[in-house]
C-alpha cells in the first residue's frame, strides 16, 4: 500500500468523522442563515442591493469557513493524542508524517465541502435575485479555498504541539494579523524610522499575507483581472502550506506521545 493510499485512508476517516458531527451542521446552518440574511438586508436598500447581497455572502462564506477550520483544526492532532486513538493507528505501518498529512487533507476536504455547500447557496440566491455571477466570482471562491488551506495548515501546526485553547489563540491571531500585514507594511513604509520600515516589511514577509487571497471586491464590482492575479496567490498559498506542514511534521515526529 502506497503512502498516498494510507494518507487518503486517514483523510477519508477524518471526513467521515466530520460528516457524523452534528455541531458542524449547526455551524453550516448559521452560515447559510447569514447569506439568507443578506437577501433580506439587500431588499431594504435602494442602491447597490446586489452588492450588499454578495458582500454579505462572501463575508459569511469566508468567516464561517475560517471559523470551522480553526475550530476543528486546533484539536485535529491534539485530540487524537489526548484520546489515545493515535496509539493503535501509529502501531500500523503508517508514519507520523502520513498520519498528520492525512488528518490535514481530511479536514481540508471537509472544509472545502462545507464551503462548496455555502457557495452553492450563494449561487442559488444570486441567480434568484438576478445578481451577476462572473469569472471573478469563481476566482474569488478559488482563492478563498487556498486561504482555507493556509488556515487549516496553521491550525494543524499548532495542534501538533499545543493544547486546543492555545492553538485557537495562535491561529485566530495569525488569521487576524494575516489580514492586516499589508496595512502594517504600508504604515511602516511611511515611517521615517528605517528600523520600523524594515521590521514591518519583515513581518509582512514572514506572516501569511491572507489579503492576497481576498478577491471579493473584484468579484462584487466586476473588475478586470490578470492571470497573474490568480496564479501568484495560488503559488504563494501552496508554498506557505508546504512550509507549515513540513514544520508540523518535524514537530510531530519528535514528540513523545505519552
Amino acid at each position: 500500500m502506497s503512502a498516498w493510499l494510507r494518507i487518503w485512508t486517514i483523510a477519508i476517516n477524518t471526513l467521515r468523522e466530520a460528516v457524523r458531527n452534528k455541531l458542524l451542521y449547526t455551524l453550516l446552518f448559521f452560515a447559510i442563515a447569514l447569506i439568507g440574511f443578506g437577501v433580506i438586508l439587500s431588499t431594504l436598500s435602494y442602491v447597490e442591493s446586489e452588492r450588499i447581497l454578495q458582500d454579505f455572502g462572501f463575508a459569511g462564506i469566508r468567516l464561517f469557513s475560517v471559523a470551522i477550520a480553526i475550530f476543528v483544526g486546533v484539536s485535529l492532532i491534539h485530540r487524537e493524542v489526548d484520546r489515545r486513538t493515535v496509539y493503535t493507528i501509529l502501531s500500523k505501518p503508517l508514519s507520523r508524517a502520513e498520519f498528520l498529512l492525512g488528518k490535514y487533507v481530511g479536514l481540508l476536504v471537509t472544509i472545502w465541502l462545507q464551503a462548496a455547500i455555502m457557495i452553492g447557496f450563494f449561487v442559488v440566491v444570486s441567480i434568484g435575485t438576478g445578481a451577476p455571477l462572473t469569472a471573478a466570482h469563481a476566482v474569488a471562491f478559488g482563492l478563498a479555498a487556498v486561504e482555507l488551506a493556509v488556515i487549516v495548515a496553521v491550525a494543524t501546526l499548532f495542534s501538533a504541539f499545543t493544547t486546543p485553547m492555545l492553538a485557537s489563540f495562535f491561529s485566530v491571531g495569525i488569521w487576524a494579523l494575516g489580514h492586516s500585514t499589508r496595512e502594517l507594511r504600508d504604515i511602516g513604509a511611511s515611517s521615517e524610522s528605517v528600523s520600523i520600515q524594515q521590521a514591518t516589511a519583515l513581518f509582512h514577509r514572514v506572516m501569511p499575507d491572507l489579503e492576497s487571497f481576498n478577491f471579493s471586491i473584484q468579484a462584487a464590482h466586476g473588475l478586470a483581472f490578470a492571470a497573474s492575479d490568480v496564479w501568484l496567490p495560488v503559488a504563494y498559498g501552496l508554498g506557505y502550506v508546504g512550509i507549515l506542514l513540513v514544520a508540523a511534521v518535524a514537530i510531530f515526529e519528535r514528540r513523545d506521545l505519552r
Partner: protein, 323 residues
C-alpha cells in the same frame, strides 16, 4: 529447546528520562533495562503501577523515544514503519473512534495495515466471529461495553495477521467472564504460533498463560525467566498439615526435622524436606495426630514478585541483576 528459539524482541540497555515540565529536573523512568522475548512464547512483563511497563511498551511501539539504548523487534529498529505489518498492538483501555461501527473500525485498520481489498471483508468478518462480535458488528462503538472494546482491540491488533502481538494490561478492568474470554483468546494466539508480549500486574493471569516473565520494579528488571521455574521447579519441600497434635509433640517433631512450624487454627503446618516426609508423617500419626494434607511446596509468582518489589521475604529465583 526454548533457548534455541529465535529472539523476536530485544531490548538492550534502554534508558528513558522524562522532563515533567519546563524548568523541572529530568526524571529517570527506565534505568538501562535489558531483556529479550523468544519466538512463539507468551511473555509476561510484570511490575507494580509506575514501574515502567507502559513506558517500555510505548518505546517498542515507537510512540516515545528512548533516551539511550537499543530496542528491536524482528531485527528492526522500533522507529521504522514498514515492519509494523508484522506486529499488532492492544493498548491499555483501548480508545477507538466511537462514531464508527465495529466493522467499520476493523476495515479502517485493515486498510491502514495494507490488507488487500479483496481479502479485507472476509478477514474482518472472520475476526469479528473470532472475538465474538459478529452480532454487534454494525453497532457504533459508543454502545460497546468495556469487554467488547477489549475484544475489538484484540481484533484490530490481529487484523493484518501479525507475527508478534503486544498487549498492554489486556485484562484490567474486566469482570471475571471478560478475563476468561481474553485469556482464552491469548492462549489461542499461542496455538496459532504467534509471539505475545503482555504487560500486566495481574499475577494470576501470568501464571495461567505466560511461558516466561520479566519483573520490572522502579525502572529496573529484577527478574527474567520461565514461569515454570518460579512456580514449579526445584525441591522446595513438602507442606504437611496436621490436626489434633499436642503442642509438645508438634515442637518435638519440628525440632527433630528442623522443619518450620506454623499454627493454622487448631491445626499446624510443617514444611519437611521431601525425603523426610514419610518418617515425619509416621511420627505425627504415632503421636495421635491426623494428617489433613500433604502437598509439595511451591513458591508462587506472587512471592517472587513481592520479593522483587521489596515487600516479601522469599528470595528464591530473584536475579536482582538490575538488568
Amino acid at each position: 529447546m526454548q533457548s534455541e528459539a529465535r529472539e523476536i524482541i530485544r531490548i538492550e540497555n534502554i534508558v528513558k528520562d522524562f522532563r515533567p515540565g519546563f524548568g523541572v529536573r529530568r526524571k529517570r523512568i527506565l534505568h538501562g533495562i535489558t531483556f529479550s522475548v523468544r519466538e512463539g512464547e507468551i511473555f509476561g512483563f510484570v511490575g507494580p503501577n509506575g514501574a515502567g511497563k507502559t513506558t517500555t511498551l510505548k518505546i517498542l511501539m515507537g510512540l516515545i523515544r528512548a533516551t539511550s539504548g537499543d530496542a528491536r523487534i524482528l531485527g528492526h529498529a522500533v522507529h521504522e514503519t514498514e515492519f509494523r505489518r508484522q506486529i499488532g498492538f492492544l493498548p491499555e483501555n483501548p480508545y477507538f473512534y466511537t462514531y464508527l461501527t465495529g466493522r467499520e473500525i476493523l476495515e479502517f485498520y485493515a486498510r491502514l495495515s495494507g490488507v488487500p481489498a479483496a481479502a479485507r471483508g472476509e478477514r474482518v468478518a472472520s475476526l469479528l466471529e473470532w472475538v465474538g462480535l459478529t452480532d454487534a458488528a454494525n453497532a457504533r462503538l459508543q454502545t460497546y461495553s468495556k469487554g467488547m472494546l477489549q475484544r475489538l482491540g484484540i481484533a484490530q491488533a490481529l487484523v493484518h495477521d501479525p507475527k508478534v502481538v503486544f498487549l498492554d494490561e489486556p485484562m484490567s478492568g474486566l469482570d471475571p467472564i471478560g478475563r476468561v474470554e481474553i485469556r482464552d483468546l491469548i492462549l489461542r494466539l499461542r496455538s496459532e504460533g504467534k509471539t505475545v508480549f503482555m504487560n500486566t500486574h495481574i499475577l494470576h493471569d501470568v501464571e495461567m498463560v505466560c511461558d516466561r516473565v520479566a519483573i520490572i520494579v522502579k525502572g529496573r528488571i529484577r527478574y527474567e525467566g520461565g514461569v515454570g521455574d518460579v512456580v514449579g521447579g526445584g525441591d522446595d519441600g513438602v507442606d504437611v498439615v496436621i490436626a489434633n497434635l499436642a503442642a509438645e509433640h508438634a515442637t518435638r517433631i519440628s525440632e527433630h526435622f528442623e522443619a518450620p512450624l506454623r499454627g493454622v487454627g487448631d491445626r499446624i503446618e510443617l514444611r519437611f524436606a521431601a525425603k523426610q516426609t514419610d518418617e515425619a508423617v509416621r511420627m505425627a500419626l504415632d503421636a495421635g495426630g491426623s494428617i489433613v494434607s500433604v502437598s509439595p511446596h511451591r513458591d508462587s509468582l506472587e512471592s517472587v514478585f513481592l520479593t522483587a518489589v521489596g515487600q516479601g521475604t522469599l528470595a528464591k529465583g530473584v536475579s536482582g541483576s538490575g538488568r
